[in-house]
Structure formats: C-alpha cells, structure tokens
C-alpha cells in the first residue's frame, strides 16, 4: 500500500478480520463438535466451548477404528492419503518437468503434435475417462494398491504447461553459456534449470499435494479393502450410516485430523509458494 491513512488501515483490518472469522468459524465448530459425545450433538445442545471428550474421541478414531461401518484406524487412512498424495505430487512434478524440458528445449519430429496431445488431456480429467481408466487399472491388478491409487492421477497437462511457460522465460543465453561451459543437456537441466524452477516446483507441490489429498471419486472406486482407504473416504463412511445415530463427533475429529497435513504443507512451504506464484526470479 502506498497510502498510509490510519482510518483506511482500520477499515481494511476490520474487513480482513471478518473474512478470517467467516472462514475459521466452521472449522472451530468442527473442532468443538469433535470434543463432545454424540448425545449432546444430536440434541442440538452443542455450545461454543469445547467439551470433555477430546481425548476419548481422538484416541478412539486413532486406535480403535472410526465407527460402526469401518474398522480402519484413522492413522492408517492418514498414512494412505499421505502416501498417495506424495506420489501424485512428486510424480506429476517429475513427469511434467521432464516433458516440458523436452518440448521447450529440443527440436524433435512431431514436437508440436506432442505438445498438443498433452494440452488435449486438459479436457479429459479422471472423471471423464473414469470407466476406461478403472478397467485398465483393474486389469493390471492394481486395485487396492498405492500404484493404482496414484498413477492414474499423475498424468497432468497443467503442470507441464506451467513449466513450459516458465522455461520459455529463461533467457536463451543461459543455455548458450552452459553449452560453452561444457554442460550437456542433462547437466544443464540439473544444474541450471532445476535450481531456477525451485520456487515453481514448491508452489506446484503445494497445489498438487492438496489435489492428491482431496481425491474422493477415484479412491472410492479403486479401494475395496478397509486398510487401503484414504481419509476423505473415511469421513464419508462415518457419516453415511444407516439405522443408527451418525457419530458426528468422530466424523469431525477425523475431519480435523484430515485437515492437518495439507495445512502443514502450506505453512511450511508458504514462503516458497508465494514466491513461486508471484516472483519471476531470473
């Protein structure tokens, strides 16, 4: 801000505070709900203050299982989610770095065809091609595996496009200087291009990790065993019970736990994330 008027500042802060409250309040209520017993929640007596069942609820979902329908522990689910989100994020970044390097820096036959093919996949997200993808994964015997959970989600045009745009802004002279400095294509990639893409990689990692973590439809199809479920599905299964009281306190506790890893990733990588989206470091 160029201007610095106290009244404007106060107003801006008020608006921001209201905005934060709007976002934070439901999260806080989820936390409050996760510390009460089901009766209180069902009777609508839930107040604004945390209740006495915090330890009991959390230890139950972590060590005994999540409820009447699923027996999987939340820690297993968190682990599954974490592994598949990590594979998706790193796999996507690795593949799109390599493919955009090829597209930007190499002249090979059908280069533009390759580029447009990658571009076209933007129009085919998993939801659109879900049946053929499921068929292939099932035929390959990859149901209930981490590979099956993550690999079909890895192919990504967005990340390839992002790196392509970034690589095209890297001055040609750097490549030429590297050529004269006796750096071959692989060395140029490793020593110059990768370090320059550091902030972009970080920003993409945050986005892709959350993308992988939040997957719902695909894991729902591909996992049948309780011990391979991801946490997002776990929440859904706790909520969707028939002929019984939904154990909202467990659902909320799971939701709170499910929220933590992505939040941690954002907090840890925030600096790089913002840099990657805003700054063009050259």
């Amino acid at each position: 801000m160029v201007e610095n008027r106290p009244f404007g500042n106060i107003l801006a802060h008020l608006v921001l505070i209201v905005g934060v409250l709007v976002i934070v309040f439901p999260v806080y209520m989820a936390f409050v709900a996760s510390t009460w017993d089901p009766a209180t929640i069902a009777n609508g007596k839930l107040g604004l203050l945390p209740g006495p069942y915090l330890v009991e609820n959390y230890s139950r979902i972590l060590f005994e299982g999540t409820g009447r329908t699923t027996r999987a522990h939340v820690d297993t689910m968190l682990f599954n989610s974490f592994v598949s989100a990590m594979i998706i994020a790193t796999g996507k970044i690795a593949i799109s770095l390599i493919s955009s390097y090829a597209i930007v820096y190499f002249r090979f036959p059908f280069r533009m065809v390759a580029f447009w093919l990658i571009f076209l996949t933007l129009m085919f997200p998993v939801e659109v091609r879900i049946y053929p993808t499921y068929k292939i994964v099932a035929d390959l015997g990859l149901l209930d595996t981490y590979t099956g959970l993550s690999v079909p989600l890895i192919a990504s045009a967005t990340a390839t496009l992002l790196f392509r745009q970034f690589f095209m802004t890297v001055p040609d002279e750097l490549l030429e200087a590297a050529k004269i400095d006796a750096a071959g294509p692989l060395r140029f990639f490793k020593d110059v291009l990768l370090p320059l893409s550091r902030t972009n990689i970080a920003a993409l990692f945050v986005i892709l990790f959350i993308y992988g973590w939040n997957q719902y439809l695909w894991p729902l199809l591909i996992t049948t065993r309780d011990d391979m479920q991801t946490v997002v599905i776990g929440i859904k299964k706790i909520v969707a019970v028939q002929d019984a009281l939904t154990e909202w306190q467990l659902a909320m506790a799971t939701a709170i736990l499910a929220m933590l890893p992505p939040v941690l990733v954002v907090v840890v990588m925030q600096k790089l994330f913002v840099k990657g989206l805003v700054e063009t470091e050259k």
Partner: protein
C-alpha cells in the same frame, strides 16, 4: 592461442533469409578483431557461428588449424561474454566462474587457483565471490562474465556487445579494461559491437559489416583515413563524414550539384571526367576561412562540447557539420566560407558507393 579463419561463410535461415553472405577474413593469433556494423548486419550471427551456437550454412570456420563447422561449442576451445552477461542467477560468483571448469573435470585445487587468479586480475574481492549475480552492479556482473571466460584459458575470446548494457561512463572504463586485459593475456579475440567508437579504440583489426557482407577489413586508422565505401566512411567517425553530390568537371575539381565547386587531390583519385561522384569530407578536416572564395556555409546550430564545437549548417543543399577545436571561437554570422584542403576530400562512385 589460435588464429580464427573464416572462408566464404554463409548463414541462411530456414525461412530463406540470408543473414551472412559469404564473409571471409582471418584474425591472426593474439589479434583483437572487432566486427562492427549497424543492427541487423549479421555481425552477431557471425560471432555465434564462430562460437558454434548457430549452424554454418556454407563455407568454413577454422580455429587454429581445425575446421570447426561440426564441432560442439564446448570442444571449440572458446569462451564467450554475452551482452546480458548470462550469469547463472542461482550460483555464487565463484560457482559461476568455476562451473565450466567443473564440467571439464578440472581438479578442485586447480579451479580454486584459476578462479582466484581471474578474480585478482579483475579486482573482484573474496566477499564478492560469495555473492549472487543479482547482488552485483552492472559493471561487476560484466567483470564476472569476463572472469568466467578467463578461467577457461581458451584459445579465443568472443564478445557479443558486452558493454551495451552499461552506462556511458562505465562503458568507457570497461572498454579500457578489456583492451588492457587482452594485451596482457594475448588471447585472440573477436568482439562484436554497433558502437563505432568502441570499435575504433579496441580493434587491432576492424571488420565493417553491412547487410551480411564485409565492407572493409583493416586497421582502424586505415579504415578511417581510406574508407573503401560511402558506408564505411559514413559509419566510422563521430560526427560522421559530410557528403556532397557532384560531378568531375576537370582533374582536381568537382562541380557540386547544389552549386559551388570543391577541389580534390587528383594524385589520389582518378575518375574520368563527367563521373557522378559523392564527395566526402570529415568534419574535423574543415575550417572556416577568414575570407576568400570557399563554399558558402549557412549556419544553423552550434553545439558546445567543451572539447570543441560542432557547427551544423547547410552547404550546397546538403547537411554539413564542421568540428572545431576548443581554441577556435564560434563563428558569428549567418553565412561562412569553408576552407577545405584538397587532400581532405574523399571521392566515391555515386551509384556503387565504392571509393574511386
């Protein structure tokens, strides 16, 4: 140490545009060759062909005794300084200079020795070696870029307009440093610039290019004093040479198209009578006559340089500039008479532009 030889070199781009049209010249071992010309004349393309960054469409480029047409840049034993320096932004200054050597698997102690020697030559201190390029000023980056070239101990240095991103004062300073450095290292150098002053001061050997062709090759003073064409005559020198159109009336005399006559030295030029010519006169070879029957000069503007004066006006329908040393008083009055010695006059063919 090596000579650089270009033999009828052509560069044609896939679109059909020919940027370099049959250029041949030889840079002797240890020589400082400057390629100069207006933008788009093909000088940078030519340099990049010597570096191996552009393919050679036809002809041969040799470094030392070896034709390098098909040799990769890294195997040509060259180092290049780029216009925008092309330093690796994420590496420290030290790593920038060491990078090429590391890729060549030079032992680390040797790298350290060479980098510190280069740093000493370029007056980069230890603190600066640890910094990143973006923490340096333009002049310092320029030094690092040169350091990166020096540590390689190449046979040939290639400079691609290395000073054009610097401010005027620094440019003069770095120009002197580059010249000193080259004298000291005695490495064959090819230097590209569009700045004729830079070209004149740096070169042992000047190559003036225009539209993909070489206009003239030679020592800077030789080119200045005996330009082979109107283009070279007009390009070298600031302010540029004055040109007047005319016709040879009799040996030693040009009748100007805009009226008036100009005497030249018939011992130097022997065009046939009646030839259409362009007469050229350097601004500093002209003075104002106290009286007499010189060409009449209609004064328009006087520029005071401190070092002297530039007097702009019109002669026989053409723009004309006279450069006076500081000791002269600025002329007063609207019209002046010019005093031009016959041996100050250059004659060029008006159609071809070639020296007669």
């Amino acid at each position: 140490m090596a000579s650089v030889l270009l033999d009828r070199v052509f560069k044609t781009y896939p679109g059909g545009f020919t940027a370099v049209k049959g250029v041949s010249f030889a840079v002797p071992d240890g020589g400082f060759c400057v390629l100069v010309g207006p933008s788009g004349c093909g000088k940078s393309t030519l340099l990049r062909m010597i570096a191996g960054l552009e393919t050679i469409s036809d002809g041969a480029v040799s470094i030392g005794d070896r034709v390098v047409n098909k040799v990769e840049p890294m195997d040509r034993d060259i180092a290049m300084v780029f216009q925008n320096y092309a330093l690796y932004p994420h590496m420290s200054v030290y790593d920038n200079m060491a990078y090429g050597l590391r890729n060549l698997k030079t032992p680390e102690p040797e790298i350290r020795a060479r980098v510190s020697e280069a740093a000493r030559i370029l007056e980069l201190d230890d603190d600066m070696l640890k910094r990143k390029p973006r923490q340096l000023s333009g002049g310092q980056r320029q030094r690092v870029a040169m350091g990166r070239a020096i540590v390689r101990k190449p046979a040939v240095f290639l400079f691609d307009e290395p000073l054009s991103n610097l401010d005027a004062k620094l440019r003069v300073q770095m120009r002197i440093e580059i010249r000193k450095l080259q004298r000291r290292l005695k490495t064959t150098s090819v230097y590209v610039t569009h700045d004729q002053l830079e070209a004149m001061t740096l070169a042992d050997m000047l190559v003036v290019m225009n539209a993909g062709r070489v206009e003239q090759v030679g020592a800077p003073l030789e080119l200045y004093e005996r330009p082979a064409s109107v283009f070279v005559a007009g390009f070298l020198g600031s302010p540029p040479m004055n040109f007047l159109d005319g016709m040879i009336e009799k040996p030693g005399l040009v009748r100007l198209s805009g009226g008036g006559e100009l005497a030249y030295d018939p011992a130097h030029f022997g065009p046939p009578l009646g030839a259409e010519v362009k007469a050229g006169v350097r601004p500093e070879r002209v003075t104002f006559a106290k009286e007499g029957a010189g060409l009449s000069f209609a004064l328009e503007l006087v520029e005071e340089l401190g070092l002297g004066q530039l007097v702009h006006g019109r002669v026989a329908g053409n723009d004309f500039t006279v450069a006076l040393p500081a000791s002269h008083n600025a002329p007063s009055g609207e019209t002046q008479k010019l005093a031009i010695l016959p041996d100050a006059v250059h004659l060029f063919d008006r159609k071809t532009g070639a020296r007669l």
